[in-house]
């Protein structure tokens, strides 16, 4: 009878329905298990700590330190004591309210940043009381710690990616740290490592309550590689201290390998100011300084007339082209007429007769003007002559980007026939028209690193290796990355020029650079320069330049020093170069008096002259 079995069949039917629903939910609808994952788990990207940076001697230069972003999830906010939060974190109440409001507009459920890059000491007090502030939490990040607060221009900096960039860089997350300048940018790939994923179990309040499945599904980040630079941090530090209150640059290269030993620009800044919550404040301050331009790397980006050191290259071209020999003698009478009514002055006295070596150590303008004219005129036309000359210079890495591994630079300029043909459409130019190039004035422009590079090429007697900042440990210089670049000058021609450079220090224009027991080769330069001031071409005090390498045989360091408005070469640049050499080769500087003079010497007054709006004297 059915009556007896009503409840029986009901029970049976309901059980069958339940099991059917279980089959649907558990066996067929995978959406539920996916929903459960997104519901109950939280994927957090784990960034490997950025690679450490060491100097050539293994000294730690850049490491990482934790910073904390104060985050908010508006949905989870409850009433809290604003005063306690704002006072501890030193933010204003209005700012806090504003930021919470904009976070709410962005998303109620997703975290937004309230305050960036707080240091551990800044959050230590409030961190223990975070339970009082539901909805807020600290997110740990790492930022750079510049153990040695030097070389900001080389290292560059890192900052967070923005939305616009992400379209170009799909493998970055919003706000992920990315190298912006310098080494950080060039070697971003190495220093970044590969990010991983950590999956957390969360509860219904979105709180993390532990790792998901004991971390079995996590993807461990791949550690970033550490980077060893070619730079000598002691030398860099020393150079930066010498450059206090001056503008200009120092570039030191190991000639044998092309490794950059120091790259100093002045004024510079302490890289540690570009991390932490005040980063943008300081950065804007640096950008806003359009007069001393601390973000402008003078050693890489400043294109100056090279001045007298350029005479060395003209001498080498003359020798190679058999236009002069080491014995060629030119005379000078406080200068010479290179054309009718055109006189080039020289500081050498009337009736000075110089061979090449003396021409170099006396820095005789006439000698090199005459050499230059002969080079240009050795060909059938000045066009061919100047292109021949340019060809030699190009082989020294001039007039183009050097291709070193930093993201900024300038090509400099070496004029060719096309340039002068454009300038003089009637082609009525000749060797004498372009004669300023003979002594490193005129149209030529070089950057300090290009000057250091050609100095290295001279030190190497005819070749250079592309300057670079990343040290390779296989000790093979001739690898594909850094091939030997030969200049078009035979190495035999270098000895005379080098001897001339040696004499510059021994008895020439840069005797102040002499270090007992070291054979230093150098060349001073004093470069006239002009700016536009109130729409008038105004001459400023000459730039002080010195290039040098040492020791003469088997050189270990080649460098170029450029001091803006430092007057003559031996006044600032030569002693700075000499101190750098002593520091690098001897590790200790004994000439404390010279060191003191340079460190304490300031050119600030000189730089202020054109800004004061009054007439001023130069070359005092």
């Amino acid at each position: 009878m059915i009556r007896k079995n009503i409840l029986f069949y009901f029970t049976l039917a309901v059980s069958v329905i339940f099991i059917c629903q279980l089959i649907v939910l558990q066996l067929f609808k995978s959406e539920y298990s996916e929903r459960s994952l997104s519901n109950a788990t939280l994927e957090r990207t784990v960034y490997p700590p950025r690679g450490l940076i060491y100097d050539r001697n293994g000294k730690l230069w850049v490491s990482n330190k934790p910073v904390y972003d104060l985050m908010v999830v508006p949905e989870n906010l409850k009433k809290f004591d604003t005063v306690e939060l704002t006072q501890n974190l030193k933010i204003s109440k209005n700012e806090l309210i504003e930021k919470i409001e904009s976070a709410e507009q962005f998303s109620k459920k997703l975290p937004s940043v309230i305050e960036r890059q707080l240091s551990l000491s800044e959050i230590s007090v409030i961190q223990e009381k975070m339970w009082k502030f539901p909805g807020f939490y600290f997110q740990k990040k790492t930022t750079r710690d510049y153990v040695l607060p030097i070389g900001g221009n080389i290292l560059g900096y890192i900052s967070e990616t923005n939305k616009r960039e992400l379209e170009m860089k799909p493998d970055y997350d919003l706000g992920e740290m990315i190298g912006r300048q310098g080494i950080e940018k060039t070697y971003e790939k190495i220093l970044r490592g590969k990010k991983g994923i950590k999956i957390f179990q969360k509860d219904r309040f979105n709180r993390i309550i532990g790792p998901y499945e004991d971390g079995n599904y996590d993807k461990a980040p791949e550690a970033a590689e550490n980077l060893t630079l070619t730079l000598d941090s002691d030398l860099q530090n020393y150079g930066e201290s010498l450059m206090q209150n001056k503008r200009g640059g120092i570039v030191a290269i190991e000639p044998r390998s092309g490794e950059v030993l120091a790259l100093i620009t002045a004024p510079n800044y302490n890289p540690n100011i570009l991390i932490g919550r005040d980063r943008s404040k300081f950065f804007n301050k640096l950008v806003a300084d359009t007069i001393s331009k601390p973000l402008f790397d003078r050693s890489l980006q400043a294109e100056y007339s090279p001045g007298s050191p350029f005479k060395l290259l003209n001498a080498l071209i003359g020798l190679q082209e058999n236009i002069i020999t080491p014995e060629t003698i030119f005379s000078c009478n406080e200068g010479h007429y290179y054309a009718k009514g055109a006189f080039m002055k020289c500081h050498n006295g009337i009736g000075t007769k110089s061979n090449l070596i003396k021409g170099i150590y006396k820095s005789c303008n006439s000698y090199f003007a005459k050499t230059f004219v002969r080079i240009i005129e050795s060909e059938s036309s000045p066009e061919k002559g100047i292109d021949l000359w340019k060809n030699y210079l190009t082989s020294f890495g001039l007039g183009n980007y050097l291709g070193y591994d930093l993201p900024i630079g300038k090509p400099g300029f070496i004029p060719g026939s096309d340039y002068y043909n454009d300038w003089y459409p009637e082609k009525n130019w000749s060797s004498t028209t372009v004669i300023s190039n003979a002594i490193g004035q005129g149209e030529i422009l070089t950057t300090p690193i290009q000057m250091a590079n050609f100095t290295a090429a001279i030190a190497n007697r005819g070749f250079y290796i592309k300057p670079h900042f990343k040290k390779s440990f296989d000790n093979i210089i001739n690898d594909s990355l850094y091939p030997v670049k030969r200049t078009l000058i035979d190495s035999k021609h270098f000895e005379t020029v080098i001897e001339g450079m040696h004499q510059v220090v021994e008895k020439g224009t840069a005797r102040i650079a002499k270090i007992n027991g070291l054979e230093i080769c150098g060349k001073t330069g004093t470069v006239e320069n002009f700016i536009r001031l109130n729409n008038e071409k105004t001459q400023l005090t000459d730039h002080s330049i010195f290039i040098a390498f040492a020791p003469k045989e088997n050189p270990k360091i080649a460098l170029a020093v450029f001091i803006e408005n430092g007057y003559w070469g031996a006044r600032w640049a030569a002693p700075i170069a000499s101190l750098m050499i002593e520091k690098y080769l001897r590790k200790e500087v004994k000439r404390k008096w010279l060191e003191k003079r340079i460190t304490e010497g300031s050119l600030i007054a000189e730089y202020e002259k054109p800004l004061l709006g009054k007439p001023f004297n130069i070359n005092e």
């Binding site: 939910l25 109950a40 998901y212």
Partner: protein, 417 residues
């Protein structure tokens, strides 16, 4: 004698009962588990409390088993009276826990009289219905029997615990077994059918559809059996339409929004997953994510994350579903069903109606719990907060349903006496 009695005990049911309660305690432990959880046996946590309640019920078991059957029959009036008094007392001394005033709280112990009212009502119904004076065909007796059920239901609804009140309707299955007119069953089917359709379709449209269906059936019958009387059709049709409109009225004016919401979500009228439908949705996600073999004991991510509210009480089945998967949850359903069916089929063997009616009432109520609780957890039923006996956390519930089970055992073992 004693040995004989023991051999007559329904040991298979006892085994299933122990498995169910033990499994329940394991799942309560998991549902309330955190890194800081103490031992499963410690009464400081829900699983431990449940364990000790279970121990107490096992201690009571022999006493229940050896009491003479007539003891329950004769004292059913008194038990029922005590239950009613304790339910009335709740109105004055009750403790409000999660919206319902269903508890007495004395020295840290909470006690829910409505659970014992299920037991005592079942006993009183069994006594009354088995009495020779009662005739289930008579309207007067039907009213008397229904009032025995409706009185405690009414008191429980007053405590705003409508879910528990519904359970008493399970006793109606005993009435049907004992000869209540089957029209009651058909009518309740028709009315719940119309209730649901009214919410889905609005009364006017539903009325038109009903008129269409009824006339079609009537025309068909007329063509086959020309003598068919049309007045019953008209009466049912008109009653249905009136019912539909009154349901609409009651639903929209008398129900509170939270009640409306529960029905709306389950009928798919609203799909607010984070709001009203949150519980059901989270429960479905938990169960669905369990897959075939589950995530493993204490490894449910939904369970650990506390996404499913009331998971150790009303939503305990979602923990089972997530951590034990299809295998675990379907085995639980099969065991549960087997227990109910076994009690029913053994109840049929009684020659006396008192023990049979009690067993039917017991299983009827167990069935309502099973239907409503798992139905809700699986998203097939509106959210009605009642536990799954033996599995869910809840001391009074476990104790009351254990006692009912023991009384069944007593009756069953003494069947041949």
């Amino acid at each position: 004698m004693n040995k004989k009695f023991l051999s007559r005990l329904d040991w298979l049911s006892i085994l299933i009962f122990i498995i169910l309660v033990g499994f329940g305690i394991l799942n309560i432990y998991s549902a309330t588990y955190s890194e800081f959880s103490i031992s499963i046996f410690n009464s400081g946590n829900p699983a431990g409390k449940q364990f000790w309640i279970f121990m107490i019920s096992l201690v009571l078991m022999p006493f229940i088993l050896f009491v003479n059957t007539s003891f329950f029959e004769h004292l059913s009036n008194i038990f029922y009276g005590i239950s009613i008094i304790s339910l009335i007392g709740l109105l004055f001394f009750g403790q409000k826990i999660s919206g319902a005033t269903s508890w007495y709280t004395v020295g840290g112990f909470s006690f829910q009289p409505s659970e014992f009212a299920k037991l005592t009502t079942a006993l009183l119904i069994a006594t009354n219905l088995s009495s020779i004076q009662t005739d289930i065909k008579k309207v007067k007796d039907i009213l008397k029997l229904f009032s025995i059920i409706l009185f405690p239901m009414f008191l429980i609804i007053l405590q705003s615990d409508a879910g528990s009140a519904i359970v008493f309707l399970g006793i109606v299955f005993a009435f049907l077994r004992e000869g209540l007119n089957m029209k009651f069953l058909y009518l309740s089917f028709l009315s719940s059918f119309i209730f649901v359709l009214t919410l889905l379709l609005k009364p006017l449209l539903l009325s038109l559809i009903l008129i269409l269906i009824f006339t079609t059936i009537y025309r068909y019958l007329i063509s086959k059996f020309p003598k068919t009387n049309k007045s019953p059709f008209l009466i049912v049709l008109i009653t249905s339409i009136i019912f539909s409109f009154s349901v609409d009225f009651i639903f929209n004016t008398i129900f509170e929004q939270r009640h409306r919401d529960r029905f709306n979500v389950i009928l798919g009228i609203e799909t607010d997953l984070k709001g009203i439908g949150y519980n059901i949705n989270q429960s479905k996600i938990a169960i669905g994510s369990g897959g075939f073999d589950g995530k493993g004991y204490l490894n449910g991510t939904q369970t650990k994350g506390g996404f499913v509210p009331e998971q150790h009480t009303d939503y305990i089945f979602s923990t089972v579903g997530e951590e034990w998967g299809f295998i675990g949850s379907s085995i639980l359903i099969i065991f549960y069903t087997f227990l109910m069916l076994r009690i029913l089929s053994r109840a049929e063997k009684h020659t006396q109606s008192f023990p049979r009616i009690f067993s039917y009432s017991f299983v009827g109520m167990l069935f309502i719990h099973f239907l409503v609780n798992i139905g809700m957890t699986l998203g097939l039923f509106p959210t009605v907060g009642i536990p799954l006996p033996y599995i869910s956390y809840g001391g009074t519930n476990l104790l009351a349903f254990s006692l009912m089970f023991f009384i069944y055992l007593n009756f069953d073992a003494n069947r041949l006496n």
